[in-house]
Symmetry: C2
Subunit: 268 residues, 2 copies
Amino acid sequence: MCELLGMSANVPTDITFSMAGFLRRGGATGPHRDGWGVAFYENEGYREFRDPHPSIESPVARLMLDYPIKSRIVISHIRQANVGEVNLSNTHPFSRELWGRNWCYAHNGQLTGFRQELPLSFYLPVGTTDSEWAFCWLLGEIRRQYPEPPEDPSALQELIHQSCEKLRSLGVFNLLFSDSQHLYAYCSTKLAHITRRAPFGPALLKDTELEVDFSACTTPRDVVSVLATEPLTTNETWHIMQPGEMVVFKDGEVITERFSHSSPSIRV
Amino acid sequence: MCELLGMSANVPTDITFSMAGFLRRGGATGPHRDGWGVAFYENEGYREFRDPHPSIESPVARLMLDYPIKSRIVISHIRQANVGEVNLSNTHPFSRELWGRNWCYAHNGQLTGFRQELPLSFYLPVGTTDSEWAFCWLLGEIRRQYPEPPEDPSALQELIHQSCEKLRSLGVFNLLFSDSQHLYAYCSTKLAHITRRAPFGPALLKDTELEVDFSACTTPRDVVSVLATEPLTTNETWHIMQPGEMVVFKDGEVITERFSHSSPSIRV
């Protein structure tokens, strides 16, 4: 299995603090030694840093901690391989272009029967993972139904949610996904999120001895949501997502929540 | 205008030496301060490092010099903007997937009338440069004519060459382009290359006081070709390409040369 980290913010925000804890799970506080990657959106621009080595030993990971890149949407992944060998082409996140936008995708879980159940059309995988295959299928479904961006965003959200439900029926499928404007998070088994806003307070990382006082580096208007497979801090209350739940973030805020039709659950 | 750097090798090779000179042109020995990027192929895997800041001041560029990534195909670009503002989405190289392969593209030059002359189909630009538009057109043409990889590689080479000739008719179009297996280089005004093989000797960089003795870090079987807008070393003889010439590299060797039909020239 792998771990996911995501961020959505209303102003370009540096995610160094969260990454400092997260990347320790790639070989120090967690067993995810089979590569890692992070994608940053800077407006519609997009860049990834990926390394097929453990994040705890990766010079590229050290750069990420020393060189704060400010971004409004971040997706990161550390890998513990199940399907597909350990190499660069199997290292998340994956990206493709649709509608003149960079789409980014990272998956935690494992799928069976994906080659039979998920016919590909426009996008083809470069590597050999179930994850990239599912990404190509998902984006191909969106492209097939919407050759151009739909005017009604809820129709697209519904398509993504239903596609995720199908993917969950093939195994475990926790997802972070973005089109450069929204961050989509889908929970199959394990995903948590927290939204930080004024008044900001201190946060204490679980994976390393590091505390930050967000009030010292934010303005009262900043809104930042962070997602992770497991909560990254010990002194805050994270929202634990339900199986089948999809949450859509924009500019740091939750704008939509959808729950599974097949196993409805109510947030408490 | 911009500058290009490329490499093709028969074994995974670190391009740190050439990059040390090249990246100085991004603000020190050259005026190309509007961003830079580099793409590495590691087998079929692909990763890019891009920064919309001058390479001479970029922490990501410093990482490239401190952390040698071994690759068989490298494409790098430093930008001096003409069309499109300075931001991440306008920073080369650009990439898209076709046939389950990552295609990478970097362009030096400037095109006029590209929106009218180059109709887009499958691929759409994310940024606003003439360069990315031309890439989307070029890859779309390949996809339209060859939905699957052609059995005869010379047919593909001919299509790429003819497409480059059309692009050259719109302005200045020097190109580095790869499908993860071949490196295509097309010269409109300025591009040079050199192939190094045993017996290897010393090389002296033009842009910084750095000399390397390749015989100390190679085996007798290594073959490495390097391309650049202008020769990077002062003590070696580089091949200066002709306008309209396309050279295809594979595993460090020149495997094909094509010349312009409209302005034929003979190499001397």
